[in-house]
Symmetry: C2
Subunit: 144 residues, 2 copies
DNA sequence: GGCAAACTTGAAAGTGATAATCAATTACAA
DNA sequence: TTGTAATTGATTATCACTTTCAAGTTTGCC
């Protein structure tokens, strides 16, 4: 899984005529073993602890490359920070976002996905992507 | 309808101890007769044509007040611009957003809404708001 | 290995939308 | 009418990216 993504990224690098660098390797390793939905700032600060030499711009550009290569995805939960999540082939999920503590849970609902397709069909609309997020209080915050 | 929103806003103003001003009246009138989903920039530039004296900051703050009062809602379609839509009591809808021409269509689907509640219930999550947007090609763009 | 071309890096500067500041103006209750 | 608090508009500041550029690396080819 980590192996597959590393392979996917190096294939992307090669196919694009880009180069393999120490920084990209480090950032990829770090990203793949990090939690989901981390912001660029989060990732940079944590990475910096182990690798002080790596610049913000490099982390920024590399995360963009991950997204472009398909191993990562940028998401916006409306807090003004772009977050990154891992992308697994053939998998899709939507999000529950706690407005109190910031916790993010993922869910899948095949019926909702189908209904979205029906809505789109009714409008003659061709869906490329979609965004479904439920905002509110997670179980923990709710019981406090 | 326009009348009801004007009433709602003036009630909000009164209840908050704020003041009724010429600028707020003008901006409210303009907003209520404008298209849905306009950005602050859009609204400001069009308003400026008729009322050159009104400042950008005033439009910005007044739109925020509309949202706070409940007669408007801020939405983000991921293009980096906050857009405003009219809010009608007891009504809810989600969006279809064309990634080619920017057209925005609205839809309602009660079944999807119910399924969202079920998902939330399964996680012990209390929904406050939600966001469902389908991005892709509208019928027009699709047939070109 | 040596080399040149192309790509990459990190620090710094730039961008664009949103938000805050402040002196002058205005609204409104007493 | 007056005092006080709110509002306005121009300006400045923020914040999260995004780009720039000179110096450093990588890579294919002799
Ligand atoms: Mn996720
Ligand atoms: Mn709408
Ligand atoms: Zn929570
Ligand atoms: Zn279109």
């Amino acid at each position: 899984m980590k192996r597959a993504k590393k392979k996917a990224f190096s294939d992307f690098i090669a196919q694009k005529g880009l180069k393999s660098t120490r920084q990209r390797d480090i950032i990829l390793d770090f990203f793949l073993s990090s939690a989901q939905h981390m912001s660029l700032e989060d990732l940079y600060l944590k990475l910096r602890a182990k690798h002080p030499g790596i610049g913000y711009a490099t982390v920024y550009r590399t995360l963009k490359l991950f997204a472009e290569s398909g191993i990562a995805r940028e998401i916006q939960f409306g807090d003004g920070q772009t977050r990154y999540e891992h992308v697994t082939e053939g998998e899709h999920h939507d999000h529950l976002v706690c407005t109190r503590c910031g916790a993010i849970a993922e869910f899948e609902n095949e019926t909702i996905e189908k209904l979205q397709d029906e809505v789109a069909a009714a409008y003659g609309f061709l869906i490329e992507t979609h965004k479904l997020e439920l905002y509110g209080l997670c179980a923990k915050c709710r019981s406090k």
